[in-house]
């Protein structure tokens, strides 16, 4: 059952081949059996899930079913869910049950999806390995001694291990695409503003975007159809019409112009990953696409720029966690200052504290121009590179990550080497463009991701391009041993 596509599951549910309660129990049983070895869930919400499945079965019987009615999914623990704990992977929010649902949670519920639980993540989405989580690291289902990537490592591992049909996730610098690559699944970060950020706990507000992780581009299209769209409650939500993503999946790729940025294939890239990516690009040529060499000259600056912009915004966003209104509060505060300082020092882990301090420093008096303003200017140059590229090509392709999944613990002592994992993904967030990662031929039995970057609001084209590849290859169907 767990290997069927979402379209097939929806059809089966309508034909009563099995009920949503049966499908939900099936996933809950898999979570109970497999997740103790993976740690991909922070909270499993079995009772609410079964209650939602019963309601879905009623709706299916009475012919009132929506597109996702009865399909079991999981939410990254960054999305507020009323009645189910939302921890954001942090001790700070270990006791936090949100008083409302995030917009995308609301939308997916309205479409009939059943929520199995909340997935593990790097604390406040800050990390590339899922090792900064207060709830412990997630293990990569392909090799449990390795990381799943991050920050959406729980969603990626859960989808790869077939513990849910699909999962929501968020991407600030690569947090959907990098774990999708390392876990061998399909991940889509939409254009900035495409999916509402309301109720998604803020990290860096000019970069954060909600998206989806699934086993295939077709499955991702079904979910994105329901998630995307304008929301008055998010002041930066884009008021741009949402096309039908499923409709566009099968469009022909003849004449598609694919740009290969030379900066994405240079030193620092594992040569075997470069070969796997080039083999996939050959496949696209066979499908009628045309390859164009391009340059994104400022993209090597994206990591330095990101580590000014993201911490600056994070230091401001995370100022709200003060031990007063919700979240962790220290014992016996001596005075108000002590209450703030100890609640925050106890509630936040080291990576979050590092980023808050970097952000505080770059925004402090006397440093603003040298850091934040400079970074914003280079951010413009990075966005301009893409603008020029999209005058020549329809999509840009390259590797998602410079290496395959690395060993747990191997990069935790060196923040800068951890940051360089996102070298190919960050520029997309800085520009606000949509990006995907899809699995291609593995290296040494470990998944490799092909990154596909599109122009603003061209998610339909990305899904189409990904789907056509998945139509003629089978990499997206491989499952980790023990999870088949």
């Amino acid at each position: 059952m767990q290997n069927k596509s979402i379209a097939q599951m929806a059809a089966d549910l309508r034909l009563r081949t099995y009920s949503s309660v049966e499908l939900t129990r099936h996933y809950l049983e898999r979570i109970e059996r497999l997740d103790p070895h993976l740690n991909s869930f922070i909270t499993v919400a079995a009772e609410p899930a079964l209650a939602a499945a019963e309601r879905a079965d009623q709706a299916l019987k009475s012919g009132e079913a929506g597109p996702l009615t009865g399909i079991p999914i999981a939410h990254k623990d960054i999305f507020c869910t009323q009645g189910i704990k939302t921890s954001c992977g942090s001790r700070m929010l270990d006791n936090f049950v949100a008083p409302y649902d995030a917009t995308i949670v609301e939308r997916l519920a309205a479409a009939g999806a059943v929520v199995l639980g909340k997935t593990n993540m790097d604390e406040f989405a800050m990390g590339s390995s899922n090792e900064t989580s207060w709830y412990g690291p997630v293990k990569n289902p392909w090799d449990k001694t390795r990381v799943p990537g991050g920050s959406s490592g729980g969603s990626a591992a859960a989808v790869a291990a077939r513990l849910c049909a699909a999962a929501t996730a968020s991407d600030t610098g690569g947090s959907i695409r990098q774990p999708a690559a390392l876990c061998g699944i399909t991940g889509l970060k939409p254009t900035y503003g495409r999916c509402s950020r309301w109720g998604m706990i803020a990290f860096a507000s000019s970069l954060d975007q909600a998206g989806v992780m699934a086993r295939s581009a077709a499955d991702a299209a079904f979910i994105l159809d329901e998630m995307a769209g304008f929301d008055t409650r998010d002041s930066t939500s884009a008021d741009v019409q949402v096309p039908d993503y499923v409709d566009a999946l099968d469009d022909d790729l003849h004449g598609l112009r694919i740009g290969l940025p030379k900066e994405y294939f240079g030193a620092g890239l594992d040569a075997r990953i470069g070969e796997a990516v080039m083999a996939a690009i050959k496949e696209y040529e066979a499908l009628g696409a045309e390859i164009v060499e391009i340059s994104l000259p400022n993209s090597p600056l994206s990591v330095p720029v990101y580590y000014v912009v993201a911490p600056a915004e994070c230091s401001s966003n995370l100022a709200r966690f003060d031990g007063v209104r919700y979240g962790h509060r220290c014992e016996n505060p001596q005075d108000l200052q002590d209450l703030y300082e100890r609640s925050r020092a106890e509630g936040f882990g080291p990576e979050v504290q590092r980023r808050i301090m970097i952000g505080t420093y770059v925004l402090s008096a006397g440093y603003y121009d040298a850091y934040y303003l400079k970074a914003q200017k280079i951010r413009q140059l990075i966005a301009d590179d893409f603008k020029r590229a999209f005058e020549q090509v329809d999509v840009i392709m390259g590797p998602t990550s410079p290496g395959t999944a690395f060993a747990l613990g191997s990069k935790m002592d060196d923040p800068v080497s951890m940051y360089l994992n996102d070298i190919y993904t960050i520029a997309t967030n800085l520009a606000g463009l949509p990006g995907m990662s899809i699995p291609v031929a593995p290296v040494d039995g470990l998944p490799v991701g092909l990154q596909i970057i599109g122009n603003y609001f061209e998610e339909a084209r990305l899904l189409n391009v990904a789907h056509r590849y998945q139509h003629v290859t089978h990499w997206h169907q491989s499952a980790p041993v023990g999870c088949e």
């Binding site: 936090f96 049950v97 008083p99 900035y192 503003g193 000019s206 008055t232 002041s235 884009a238 400022n298 090597p300 600056l301 990591v303 330095p304 720029v305 580590y307 000014v308 230091s315 100022a319 007063v324 209104r325 919700y326 509060r329 005075d335 108000l336 200052q337 209450l339 703030y340 300082e341 100890r342 925050r344 020092a345 936040f348 504290q353 590092r354 808050i356 301090m357 970097i358 505080t360 420093y361 770059v362 402090s364 850091y371 303003l373 400079k374 970074a375 914003q376 200017k377 280079i378 951010r379 413009q380 140059l381 966005a383 923040p415 800068v416 940051y419 800085l430 606000g432 463009l433 603003y456």
Partner: protein
């Protein structure tokens, strides 16, 4: 850019983080390494470049100045660490 333990004290105070004395050296090293990475920006000439604050060049939307949300004080305060009579309680600020 190299930060020392006294810089960390200053930044931690601004950020309202209680950094233990034995953690200061480690944070000083980590933050200095991150700032070294960031220093790559200095090589780029950005004269005449408009800073990009936001990926979508949109104006802030406005709405009519009428209350749109019902008052849910009790609901929101039900998750607070300490409240009394609808107020959040903190240690005494004024002696």
């Amino acid at each position: 850019m190299s930060l020392d333990s006294s810089d960390i004290d200053k930044i931690a105070h601004l950020a309202r983080l209680a950094v233990a004395p034995e953690q200061r050296a480690r944070y000083a090293t980590d933050l200095s390494n991150i700032l070294d990475l960031v220093a790559q920006m200095d090589a780029i000439d950005t004269s005449g470049v408009e800073p990009m604050a936001h990926p979508l060049h949109m104006a802030q939307r406005l709405r009519p100045d009428i209350p749109a949300e019902p008052n849910q004080r009790e609901h929101f305060q039900s998750i607070a660490p300490l409240t009394e009579g609808g107020l959040y309680l903190v240690p005494k600020v004024i002696e």
